[in-house]
């Protein structure tokens, strides 16, 4: 039995605002979303229970192709971000000293000064056919005609990685900073090569940071809308775009809701698989 007395009571009272926010802003709308996704409109204002919008997803190849593509691209973006962020985090945590350290950290933060929309338009100014890079290539004679750098997967990937960098660097820096340098020296002293030191000491030590960084980046990428749409154009085929189309363009809330639920399920499933594969618990990852 839960007894609400003294200390116990005040703990729950203090927890109340958090529980209310979570409940009202996250759980409740999601449950409603699930409800909406499971009904079929018969006529105006009349609905019946149905799995139609889920079967629609599995029978229309465009939908699940987009879905798979989004998942694969997000996983790739996460891994690439990790690959790039790790040396940067190592440098910030272990090599840079004092003022340089703060400057480097700030450099990771500065892109967020500008709103994502404006930042992405900035990229477009650089990359479009009549943009700065294309102009430079023509001016320098490296290219004879205008070059279109927008609307391809590489550009989308670059944009996604760029937008995610900070969320990978921060948890990595904080775990790596906690590592005693002499662990690396001790491993080296006991006969390990540089590669073995990274594999057997640094990575296992940084694992909680790697996992929490990957979870955040993966979630953000999967749910990103602006970057893939603007940099990838019409053919970016990002799943959030499908959701947007259903809700706004087609005004098909039931289908949009079904997609929303599927996206949530997918991301939960992938995060769970990732945790299982790396042998970490969610608790450990959150604690770092």
């Amino acid at each position: 039995m839960l007894k609400l007395t003294g200390k116990n009571l005040s703990f729950y009272l203090l927890l109340m605002p958090l529980l209310l926010t979570l409940g009202l802003l996250i759980v409740l709308p999601q449950l409603d979303m699930l409800g909406v996704s499971l009904r079929e409109r018969i006529s105006y204002g009349e609905y019946k229970f149905s799995f139609l919008h889920y079967t629609e997803f599995f029978t229309e190849p465009l939908y699940w192709n987009t879905f798979l593509r989004t998942a694969v691209m997000s996983i790739m973006a996460t891994l690439l971000t990790l690959l790039i962020a790790f040396p940067i985090a190592w440098y910030i945590a272990k090599v840079a000293q004092g003022k340089n350290k703060k400057l480097l950290f700030l450099a990771c933060l500065i892109p967020f000064w500008v709103s994502e929309l404006v930042r992405t338009y900035g990229w477009m100014i650089l990359l479009r056919e009549s943009g700065i890079i294309s102009g430079f290539l023509q001016w320098s004679g490296l290219s004879s005609g205008p070059v279109e750098l927008l609307y391809n997967d590489i550009t989308v990937m670059t944009g996604l990685i760029y937008a995610s960098m900070l969320f990978m660097v921060v948890p990595l820096v904080s775990t790596l900073e906690g590592m005693d340098d002499s662990l690396v020296e001790a491993a080296y002293d006991l006969g390990a090569s540089t590669f073995t030191v990274i594999r057997s000491i640094i990575l296992p030590y940084a694992m909680p940071g790697v996992i929490s960084g990957c979870i955040v980046v993966f979630m953000l990428t999967l749910g990103n809308y602006l970057t893939p749409t603007l940099l990838g154009g019409k053919h970016s085929l990002w799943f959030t775009e499908q959701i947007f189309t259903q809700f706004i363009t087609r005004f098909n809330w039931e289908q949009g809701a079904a997609f929303g639920v599927l996206l949530l399920t997918l991301s939960s499933l992938l995060v769970w698989t990732g945790l299982k594969l790396s042998g970490q618990s969610f608790k450990q990852a959150v604690a770092s």
Partner: protein, 363 residues
Amino acid sequence: MSVTPDLECRGINKSFGQFQAVNDVSFSIPAGSFFSILGPSGCGKTSLLRMLAGFSEPDSGEILIKGKSVKGIPPNKRPVNMVFQHLALFPMMNVGDNIAYGLKRRKVSAQEQQRRVADVLERIGLPGIEKKSIDQLSGGQKQRVAIARCLILEPALLLLDEPLGALDLKLREQMKIELKTLQQTFGTTFVYITHDQSEAMVMSDQVAVMNHGRFEQVGSPQTLYYQPETPFVAGFVGNNNRLSGQVIKTAKDFIQVSTESGHIFHTSSSSILETNTAVEMFLRPEAIHIDRDSDKSWQNTMKGRIDNILFDGGNSQLLVRDTASPTQMTVALPQTGKYQKLRQGEIIKLGWNAEQSIAFKAG
């Protein structure tokens, strides 16, 4: 033919920018001995040890391990292992994996690894703890595991960087004896650095006293204690009363010093000193005799009032203030029961002979 020493250093220098951390250090360590480098914090001990381990290269000079120069050989290829100041046990591995880490790098078979880990744990007196995690161990156990992790590789040299620094006093006393025993059972050459003179004295066969990047003196603990060659060694190794004065007379075996406190003492000296040289005289608290009534004659005597009795069992001391000057002397108080009745404020006679003190030219 003489046996090649396990370690030989010739003229090692190391600077960080303008600052010379290690200054022309040369020494050699015979196989199987316990060698300590003793010096105050910041004198360059760690810098020297890191060059032996291969984490940095000397600016000049040569390091030979078992007769072979190790110039340019990285730490993972040197036949030396190091026990770090904070031990650096790998927190994400259990005890067994920590100890087997080096064997794994040498591609020793899993079965052989297991056998040797069990064997080394037996030898350090912690059998069967392979599966424990590092944070389940006590301070002393961690210490022994860190040493076992190195000794299992049978290195030519084991380097230890103040490994007892983090332990509490009681455990430190116990580990001193254990380390010495471990060294003897394994027969590995230990190079041990510390700023604690008692650690160095208790465990070592040879001690090098280091100051400002230089070796002041290398010798057995007894030599350093009884025949210090420099004022620094006299002041750093063991306790000493320090008296300043001037040489007024020289004789064959001893000199006479007139101290600033107005006494004239007979003392031995480290080198031949001329009259009128300013000197510093060192006298150990345990070399001073307390004379209450006997009229035994000493070459040097001093009358003083007991300022304080610092009772600490076998290490008890008296603080005695000279009756004729503000000089205060520390005197060891033997716990034979004979001096139990001494009281604060009592006037006593102190006596010692010339060969029990040593004078150095004042620097």
